[in-house]
């Protein structure tokens, strides 16, 4: 499960192309970092970089940028329309895939730690990483900007979290921390700009200033008119889409618009968006309209239509959803072979692919047949009285099939780890111990593969019963073959567990594993018979 973090550093340079490119080059130079966007602002004299990568490289990327800034940016005599107080003004870390907010807080600390030591400049932690409430808001930390920083540093309440508390004139200070993924979102209205603005005032967190807050929190926004589209927009930034999701904003704007008798005309997302925010939008409508949808790209399609994301330009998931952009294609040599070549490879002289892969294929095909029968039953008028049962099991059958396919290639890697052990040197006691230990782990991995195949196959029996009971009778034989094929897949995996168990030396692991494997195998035999008999007497 890969970890992806996004980093959006702002540097106080916007008019010097050499520095702008040097920073971009430095970030691109770090392995594992992918630069998605560079946005220089002439009037603001400020440039915003957006890049992603795994936690380690993201820290390296941010450091690389900071190093260049240290050499090439001098804050004395810096002018710009946007408030700033440092050469590297702000550097947020944002969780994207497989990292929690805390990990990001941790990441921002480690970055601040390293940067402060190497570059000898002050760092403040803000937002989630802020040590105290009064140092939470960026606008507070940056109060007084660069010109007032010298004074601010003598105040003990503003001692930097990292680095020196003396004023470094050519650098200033930097605010770093972790925050949620920011979504820039516009809802279209066939109205005037100030009708749109009124709606924005009612919804945004700050509302109309003190005393009359808006209805939604973590939302900043305003209303304006876009000549090019000939429409007004409520344009907002969602600073935390988990608290106020996309669809909530959309629905609230719709309610406000109805009160004013104004029509909403779709919406648009500017920049990238996390997958989760669209899936939760889909879930909301699925739940609201009581729909039955489980496949991801159908959920996306639903979200796109309900939010009217195609209203201005077509919304293409593979270009705009950040997980899709950063996904790497998995490596599966066997599964990518043609069926013919795969079987011929099985029959060839090398012992891999062998029984293990064959078992995984049998199990996968078995469950696949189950899914097929379920799909031939779902949505057919004749069987509409059993739709409920089918809907419960179909998603399981689909996902188990997918996971079993991945198991076809699983055991080649185990095979290699074992051989590494075999080739280790063995001419001192210590070396022999390490070698033996390495070989034992190889064996456990070699056992873990077929065991996983068994566990996965095992999940499918429940659904199989349901199908045997309510499935489309025309494809009875497919259910039979499915069940039988799943059983013999599990059985085959069972044999692989047994045969690798012979050389396992720690008894406790051996006894615990055999027990579980035996039960699963037994259950496979019983369930299969049950399925067959259920089918038998449905006639």
């Amino acid at each position: 499960m890969r970890k992806i973090v996004e980093c959006v550093p702002n540097f106080s340079v916007g008019r010097d192309p050499d520095t702008i490119d040097a920073i971009a080059g430095a970030i691109k130079g770090v392995d594992g970092c992918r630069l998605l966007d560079v946005d220089p602002g002439y009037s603001t004299n400020r440039t915003v970089y957006t890049f992603v990568g795994d936690p380690e490289s993201v820290i390296e990327g941010a450091l690389a940028g900071a190093r260049v800034a240290r050499k090439m940016i001098d804050m004395r005599g810096h002018k710009g329309e946007h408030p700033r107080f440092g050469a590297m003004d702000v550097c947020p870390f944002i969780p994207v895939v497989g990292v929690t907010m805390d990990e990001c807080v941790e990441i921002s600390r480690r970055f601040a730690q390293k940067a402060a030591d190497e570059l000898a400049v002050p760092f403040y932690l803000y937002e989630q990483a802020a040590p105290a409430v009064y140092r939470c808001k960026l606008s507070d930390i940056r109060q007084g900007e660069y010109e007032g920083l010298a004074g601010k540093l003598e105040d003990p309440r503003w001692k930097p979290d990292f680095g020196p508390d003396t004023f470094v004139p050519e650098w200033g200070a930097t605010a770093t921390g972790a925050r949620m993924f920011l979504i820039a979102y516009n809802v279209n209205l066939l109205a005037t700009s100030n009708q749109a603005h009124r709606i924005a005032l009612n919804l945004r967190e700050t509302g109309r200033g003190e005393g009359s807050p808006g209805k939604l929190q973590n939302v900043q926004g305003m209303g304006w008119f876009v000549d090019e589209y000939d429409m007004a927009q409520v344009t907002v930034n969602l600073t935390d889409y988990k608290i106020t999701p996309l669809h909530v904003v959309y629905e609230e704007v719709k309610k406000e618009a109805e009160l004013l008798g104004l029509p909403v005309a779709g919406s648009e997302i500017v920049g990238l968006v996390p997958l989760e925010s669209l899936l939760s939008a889909a879930d909301y409508y699925i739940e609201k309209e009581g729909l039955f949808i489980y496949r991801e790209n159908q959920k996306l399609r639903l979200a796109i239509e309900r939010l009217g994301l195609n209203s201005i330009v077509p919304f293409r998931p593979e270009e705009r959803i950040i997980e899709y952009i950063t996904a790497e294609k998995p490596e599966e040599p066997l599964a990518s072979m043609t069926t013919r070549a795969f079987i011929e490879e099985v029959a060839s002289r090398s012992s891999a692919p062998g029984g293990g892969s064959v078992s995984a294929v049998c199990a996968a095909m078995g469950v696949g047949l189950g899914a097929m029968v379920a799909k031939l039953t779902y949505g057919v008028r004749k069987f509409e009285n059993v739709q409920g049962h089918i809907q419960k099991v179909l998603p399981t059958l689909d996902s188990v099939t997918q996971q079993l396919i991945a198991m076809i290639d699983a055991d080649t890697s185990a095979f290699n780890e074992f051989m590494d052990g075999l080739r280790m040197p063995q001419n001192t006691k210590e070396e022999r111990r390490l070698r033996k230990e390495k070989m034992q782990n190889g064996l456990k991995t070699a056992i873990d593969v077929p065991l996983t195949t068994m566990r996965l196959g095992d999940l499918a029996w429940g659904p199989f019963e349901v199908i045997a009971r309510y499935g489309n009778p025309a494809s009875r034989s497919d259910t039979q073959v499915g069940a039988a094929s799943l059983k013999s897949g599990i059985w085959g995996a069972y044999q692989n567990v047994l045969i690798n168990m012979v050389d396992i030396e720690d008894g406790e692991y051996r006894q615990k594993t055999l027990e579980e494997a035996e039960k699963i195998n037994q259950r496979a035999a019983d369930k299969c018979d049950k399925v067959l008999s259920l089918l038998e007497n449905r006639g």
Copy 2:
């Protein structure tokens, strides 16, 4: 007001490129005809042509195609999967812009008449043009197809409406008539194909065959699954969008889908669509949601969003709405001059542009200012208690402004007609009479122009009072100038009426026109004072 008719002839040729191109060339060769699409079918051995034009040229186009078919198509030994009984199998005429159904019936008769005489082949009238109910359906007329035509013609009940009633073997027969514009429309569903099919069965006119008709009439449809989009569709043909409009189909499918707990995911229109069908969809939602929208391209945007027409490919009105495709840009030399050049042209030695154009400009600017004040009032919170009043008058002000602009160029054409008369020969009594008559008409046209300017200006006084009463006080002077400018525009036009009246000889026309002109002019003076006083005491 231009007349546009669409013609969709089907020819029984689909495998011979030369004939296919020859027919296309012939249609394109006729002035005034515009060929929009050629669709040959190999397996059906049939080609469908779609072209538009004014009534006269459309008849010529259809004739040109028929002439080629007469020479190059021989029905003996013709095979194809689609039912047919003639070289030119069917030729419908469809009202698009500014023609009624009856005119189209008339057009199809004249076409059948001409073609039958020139080509000596039989023609049947079907659909709206059918002389009797039993000859109304195409499927009945074509019963037995080409192979059974010889027999059919001996039956007196099937005497052709035009042409010989003997069998012409290399041609067969043709069905022609008038029908409504056909709209091919698909509603997307995240479902299976037969869930979509069930919905289609409940809605289409024929329903599930005899005894259980669908809910909507003039709708043929079915449900299917499209792999490319990974969605199911209810695909329908609307044979009469006036009886069952687009939005009705969309809403009905939505209701049926909800009963099945299925989500609708937008829709798509295949081919072209008439403007009216989208405007009526907009009106339906405007009325349902109580919206205030009067500009056409906003109405279109509303319809597009509500029907989700962008779901698959972006819907571009200028490429898909048939009136937009066939529109010609109007010719207005003066209005296209820069303001500077226009005023310099006024000041130049030629008498055109003269007082007439100047008056039209004054009136247009006056009403324009009215519209401006209305827009500065509408949608502003401070004035939300007078929104109703503003909403009633704004559309009027907008459209009167547009029509007055068109009047700037109006009187150059009148000036030319008068000169044509002046140059006619006058050396026989008869010729002098025609010359005098022509000059009198020129004069009436020359009077009709400023009179129209007066009538149009006159429509704006009502709205002006409303604005004077409830308009945004910050732009009081704009309302004053607007009213004054309108008054002097009307006054100017009045002078042009008077001065051209001097040479009019028929008293009755003169007396009637002067009376009306005087009233309008007087009303302008009164209304203007009233508006000014209303403004005066709003302070």
